[in-house]
């Protein structure tokens, strides 16, 4: 058992999967070039030395291009782990993902599988509006894609390994402030959680959430960075006598609805925290599920804490204002009592 950052845990997962199955390979921009960072956030750092450039495949800056290569390779029987430097660039490969990868197994009557893994860093980190978005909700809206959001090192490794072994296209969203990237890729203001990660092979099942903190008075659902914002808020709230239960769904599609519903049935209150823009966001979907299926257990309105409906600002001070803070979570919770 080692204490690892999320970047290290992901790297370990990739290494183990590549060792286990020679069909597994990585593809992306600057993931293995000599002197590079090992993709933007050091996840694949050193893997090209270990597996060679044929399995750590650097591509030109053409997201649509390498997405097509990866999807085609998956359809042909390989198990690619593609890396998009910034999640924002997923839009460049949208047709490949939404119209081809997601629908292929349905359109082929189950004969053509697309065992693709697409890793995408998200989150506002003082890089401006085009390198800051949290795009998870877009992909939860496309049937045929699985969407994972690991927030700990243990889950990062276990979920990535499950994703590699899954026959469906899986998007893994990783938050830039949670990687624990080191050296010149150290992120300012990063949380960089370090956690125990077993050395042996293990999987985290896709579709199972976890309760990060038990509480009786309010359910706070977060994902990625906002799980930590929620936990921070819960500590403060506990001092004021409000016991918050913090839920990390870990996977958005499929979603562990039961976990959320059971928690809300216990607490009677729900606050959803995410870094995405408010309108049409994932928080609204969770609110709708609870309103439909646990309405009579609600003791207060459902609250969403999210980024406003604007692009992420470039100025760091403005960005702090933009991203949901623990204080905003606390205020939202208190408004329910």
């Amino acid at each position: 058992m080692a204490m690892l950052t999320i970047a290290e845990a992901l790297r370990q997962a990739i290494r183990e999967e590549m060792q286990r199955d020679e069909r597994v390979f990585c593809i992306g921009e600057d993931i293995g070039i000599p002197g590079g960072f090992g993709c933007a956030f050091t996840v694949t750092l050193g893997l090209s030395d270990e597996f060679g450039h044929e399995r750590i495949l650097d591509t030109p800056i053409s997201e649509n291009g390498f997405a097509g290569v990866a999807i085609g390779a998956a359809m042909a029987g390989l198990r690619p782990i593609a890396d998009v430097q910034y999640g924002d660039f997923l839009f460049l490969m949208m047709d490949q993902l939404a119209n081809q990868a997601a629908k292929m197994i349905y359109m082929s009557g189950g004969t053509i599988k697309v065992p693709l893994v697409m890793r995408a860093p998200v989150g506002a980190t003082a890089r401006g509006a085009q390198h800051a978005q949290s795009l998870e909700a877009f992909f939860t809206h496309i049937p045929g894609l699985k969407v994972l959001v690991p927030s700990t090192a243990y889950d990062a490794k276990g979920l990535l390994k499950s994703a590699v072994r899954d026959d469906n296209p899986v998007l893994i969203f990783e938050h830039k402030l949670l990687y624990g990237s080191k050296g010149s890729r150290t992120e300012k203001g990063a949380l960089s959680p370090v956690g125990e990660v077993p050395d042996e092979d293990y999987l985290v099942p896709i579709g199972k959430g976890v309760i990060r903190r038990e509480g009786s008075d309010v359910t706070i659902v977060g994902k990625l960075l906002t799980v930590y914002r929620a936990l921070l808020a819960a500590e403060t709230l506990a001092q004021e006598g409000i016991q918050a239960e913090v839920i990390d769904p870990r996977t958005l599609v499929p979603l562990d609805k039961e976990l959320i519903l059971e928690s809300v049935k216990k607490t009677g209150r729900l606050v959803i925290v995410e870094e995405d823009n408010l309108t049409g966001g994932w928080a609204g979907e969770i609110a709708a599920i609870v309103a439909e299926q646990a309405f009579f257990w609600l003791d207060a309105p459902i609250k969403r804490v999210s980024a406003p409906d604007t692009p992420a600002p470039f100025a760091p001070v403005m960005e702090q204002f933009y991203v949901p803070s623990a204080d905003r979570v606390i205020a939202a919770v208190k408004s329910l009592f």
Binding site: G268, F295, F296, W297, L298, D299, A300, P301, L336, F337
Partner: protein, 440 residues
């Protein structure tokens, strides 16, 4: 801003009044000072003046309704004023919260009153436990009732607080007081709550009474309103006092003659008037009978205020002649006549019907000789006077016809013992037999 029209507090024991009449209807123009409505208590009908000018709006009580004193029964509004909710009455808080200039605020207030805001969770809990939402105090977000409000209500002490005296009374009466809402602070059950419930509760009556006769009654008179109040009061007297009645036959010949002499001198008086003079004198001399019970104290009074029981169409009334001890016969006659007349017409003011220290009741006109009157709480005693009739009496070894009268004095043995009461009655008898002693 609309002015609230309140049911007036009348009498010291009355907490309900009957709305006897509206002199104005909904929408009428009302001028300050003109009679607006009439209320009736067990003792009197009283006109109530408008204390503001405007339009009568939101009339809540109908003629004949029993209303709680100080409750809002209507509003007097400015001609163009929109009541927050026409036809119903806003709470004082709500009324204050409505800025007349702000349409939005008015809408918000009326919405609040239209419906109860409650979380789905709280509603579910309330329904499961069959709890009425009217009694729930909302503390949740946006003023809604939430789960904790229901839980708090469910966990409220089942037993209300109760005073030691009330507890003892309840235990002695074998009464279950836990469901009562007391009239004391924070719903504390007081002794009067126990006696009120203990006596008037239909449940108890049913429990204690034999089965009623079968068949259709000729008439059903509800024991409510004036009848209900008399019923309560009499039950209270009968259950709470320790009444003892002393009777004595008195030779009233001299009093009859005195009355004739006075009439010859142009001073018309009734036996009641003469009796009041006598009682005033005797009560000054025997203050233990001119007393009332106030909590744990017996209060002896210097002033003699005598209530006279009057049989009226509306029931028993007892207007009070004040400071009888300071008044001459002529003034007593005048006041008594006026009071009795007004009592019969239902026009006595509440002030005229309260504050007695002693009561006299005369059934002589019905041919009654002796009886056992009921004490009017909180007084100590009541004197019943029978008819004056000529009886054969042994006097100086001869049987002669004398004008005889029976006196029946009921006193509360809690306040005074038999000896002092008998001595008082003896003194009254002496003054009747020898009325010239009044001038000594």
């Amino acid at each position: 801003m609309a002015i609230e029209v309140l049911a007036p507090p009348l009498g010291q024991t009355t907490d309900r009044v009957i709305l006897a009449n509206w002199y104005k209807q909904e929408g009428d123009i009302v001028n300050e000072g003109e009679p607006l409505f009439a209320v009736e208590t067990d003792k009197a009908t009283l006109d109530v003046e408008a204390h503001a000018s405007g339009i009568l709006r939101g009339v809540k009580a109908k003629i004949g309704d029993e209303v709680k004193v100080l409750s809002v029964i209507a509003m007097i509004a400015a001609p163009d004023e929109e009541l927050a909710l026409p036809g119903t009455i806003t709470s004082p808080e709500a009324t204050r919260a409505v800025p007349i200039s702000s349409q939005d605020a008015q809408v918000a207030v009326s919405q609040k009153q239209d419906r109860i805001f409650i979380s789905p969770r709280a509603r579910r809990l309330a329904e499961e436990n069959k709890i009425s939402l009217d009694e729930i105090h909302a503390t949740g977000p946006e003023g809604a009732i939430i789960e904790r409000d229901i839980r708090l209500y469910m966990e409220r002490p089942v037993k209300p607080p109760i005073s030691p005296v009330a507890r003892r009374m309840a235990e002695e009466a074998g009464m279950d007081w836990r469901h009562l809402t007391g009239s004391g602070p924070r719903g504390r059950v007081m002794s009067k709550d126990i006696s009120a419930v203990g006596i008037t509760s239909a449940e108890k009556t049913a429990r204690l009474s034999a089965a009623p006769p079968e068949g259709e009654p000729v008439e059903i008179i509800p024991v409510s309103g004036v009848r209900g109040l008399i019923s309560d009061r009499m039950s209270l007297s009968h259950s709470q006092t320790a009444p003892v009645t002393l009777t004595t036959e008195v030779d009233a010949t001299a009093l009859v003659e005195l009355r004739g002499e006075l009439a010859n001198d142009g001073i018309e008086s009734t036996y009641n008037d003469l009796l009041l003079c006598i009682l005033a004198r005797a009560l000054r001399e025997h203050p233990r009978l001119n007393a009332s019970l106030d909590g744990d104290n017996i209060k002896l009074w210097r002033d003699v205020h005598i209530a006279i029981a009057v049989d009226t169409d509306r029931g028993l009334l007892a207007p009070v002649i004040r400071n009888v001890e300071h008044k001459g016969l002529e003034q007593i006659s005048l006041e008594t006549k006026s009071l009795i007349d007004r009592a019969r017409q239902g026009k006595c003011t509440p002030e005229e019907l309260r504050g007695g220290t002693f009561t006299v009741t005369n059934l002589g006109m019905f041919g009654i000789d002796a009886f056992t009157p009921l004490i009017q709480l909180p007084e100590c005693a009541i004197l019943g006077v029978g008819r004056i009739k000529t009886q054969p009496v042994m006097l100086d070894n001869a049987v002669v016809g004398r004008q005889m009268v029976w006196l029946s004095l009921t006193f509360d043995h809690r306040l005074v013992d038999g000896g002092p009461a008998a001595r008082f009655l003896q003194r009254v008898a002496q003054l009747i037999e020898r009325p010239h002693l009044l001038i000594t």
